[in-house]
Symmetry: C2
Subunit: 354 residues, 2 copies
């Protein structure tokens, strides 16, 4: 077992501990995690480095997918050759249809064909979703898959935000499924026994929001979501508090909120570091505060949480930030393995069929 | 003239300077700013205190509106009696229709009737909008008024976000008017000669976003917005950078983004202050950094910017945060006076009639 502080950097209390699920020697009882070696701003070097760490330090079997001649030293990891690579800014749908020998498509096929237990990519988000959707397929009864992302909070558990970008336009009844899937995810990813679900709106009262949100409110109020409680509307300012465990929204609003939060944190950290680089006394004081600032930085950095999960497809698919480095990739692979072992896909299947 | 550093706290460079427009003796050439003395979490004491400061220190004539017996010492300020007060959580439309002798309705009527040049309230946002809309009326040709809010950035000028909450559901063509009004506001509020306008979406390409956003993109691309440049889509993470001067969106998305940004800043500041209150060495270092932290805090605090402006109604209407204290109210009254002197309402009228 990897100590919990590795996968979650210094925020093990924030994301819960998942002790006892992994062994330090490679786990021979699970299929490998397929890792898109070609995806991400720092691919393939940082991706391969993270995969090697996940394997050697965390005992997770990994299958690297991509062009072997570009990967450098891959140690004893298995490699699945794929000759093509989908660019970060390529049009997702057509790329996935056209580039059948791309690392993303091959990784999704490896899960579909039972050669891998999960896929992880830091590449083109849209193409990752499209590969997973087209090759693994949707879970029976799921209208649309959704991306679940963890938003840090100063104390307590992070908040699950979904859909954080899979569906730019949603129908209000899909949000009930997002709630069902998000509740399963919160239970297994964050160890929250009875997640509190909320709907993202612009006021707490059911009368607040767009007609779409009011419809979704009614649908969520009427729905039975097993093992979870719908607590009503929350606002953007509640995302980073301990108000709700899972916040439900359409993929457009969710993506705007996610990126606004990331941007705000970055702006404040930038300003903070700038302010501390001025007067000599300030520089000195900042040095003293280095441990506190480091903890804070890691707590609020997107890489800490090891990527988002595409919920609703027939396999574990972890979507990492484009900026993923080796540590973030190691975390993402660890999350993928945890989600496989917790059988999140099976639990989502059961949840949406009720 | 009040030194620019008063109204903008310590961020005068960030919000531009408006020197030379006010005199320290009360300006007899302008009608008073009507201030809703009853609105806000700290009303009436902090509101009255801010109004007194705006008058005595900044030379701005003020008309306090509300229940005189609750206001305490109002010095030499004029008072307009209003017997009712709309609660912070009251339903806006019906309250404004029913409570004809409320401070909000009377303040809006004072502007309509030529007794005041502007209105300012830290009370119920929806009721403030409804009062302004019903009593002052819409500018001819404006489909819907919109709220323009300033979002801080680490360096350079803040970003104007509109609509940040007036319209929970929008038609895509309204966003062209939001752009026209936002350009006028950026020019006069931030002294940006040729504002860069952008549309809030979930990717830079015109193909990204919901059908609504794609329609708005096309409409903004085709429109001629005098004295401004449409630079295309931006994402949530660009709100707090120097990418665009004005970011256009529907009121639902805008309100979620605004509150998410506020929540993220608050979460990080809370965590920062918490981290600095631990080890004795950290506490000491934080003391040394007090001037830097204070500047930072004020730069990113919503009160610094003196409230949002409701654009599209026939008068200046400034909407302040519910948490408004005396300094924030003084700032808001100063902004109201600036907007009156710059004839922003006249410029908006001209901009939407082109």
């Amino acid at each position: 077992m990897v100590p919990p502080n590795v996968r979650t950097a210094s925020v093990e209390t924030a994301v819960g501990t998942r002790a006892g699920k992994l062994s330090r020697s490679t786990d021979s009882t699970m299929l490998p995690v397929a890792v898109d070696a070609m995806g991400g701003d720092h691919a393939p070097s940082e991706i391969v480095a993270g995969a090697l760490q996940a394997n050697s330090d965390d005992g997770i079997p990994v299958l690297l997918v991509g062009r072997p001649d570009e990967m450098g030293d891959t140690g004893e990891l298995d490699v699945l050759e794929a000759s093509e690579s989908i660019a970060m800014d390529a049009e997702p749908g057509s790329s996935v249809r056209r580039m059948k020998d791309s690392s993303l498509v091959r990784a999704a096929e490896a899960v579909r064909d039972g050669r891998a237990s999960a896929m992880v990519s830091a590449g083109n988000t849209g193409a990752t979703m499209a590969s997973a959707l087209l090759r693994m397929g949707r879970i029976s009864g799921v209208a649309r898959p959704a991306i679940a992302t963890l938003i840090p909070t100063p104390s307590g558990s992070p908040t699950v935000l979904l859909d954080s970008g899979a569906n730019a336009e949603c129908q209000s009844e899909w949000l009930v499924q997002f709630a069902q899937m998000g509740a399963v995810f919160a239970r297994h990813r964050l160890d929250v026994a009875e997640p509190r679900l909320a709907l993202l709106s612009i006021g707490e009262e059911p009368s607040k929001g767009s007609p779409f949100v009011k419809e979704a409110f009614a649908a969520l109020s009427d729905a039975e979501i097993r093992g979870a409680t719908f607590i009503g509307n929350v606002e953007g300012r509640d995302l980073m508090t301990n108000t709700a465990d899972v916040v439900i929204t359409d993929g457009f609003t969710g993506n705007v909120a996610l990126k606004t939060a990331e941007g705000a944190l970055k702006a404040l950290l930038t300003a903070l570091l700038g302010a501390m680089g001025g007067r000599p006394e300030a520089v000195e004081a900042a040095d003293v505060l280095a441990p506190e600032l480091d903890t804070l930085y890691r707590k609020f950095h997107p890489d800490t949480y090891g990527g988002a999960m595409l919920l609703g497809v027939r396999g574990v698919c972890i979507i990492s930030h484009g900026s993923t480095n080796a540590l973030a990739m190691r975390n993402a692979i660890g999350v993928a393995a945890d989600m496989v072992r917790a059988d999140v896909v099976g639990h989502v299947t059961a949840a949406v069929s009720t």
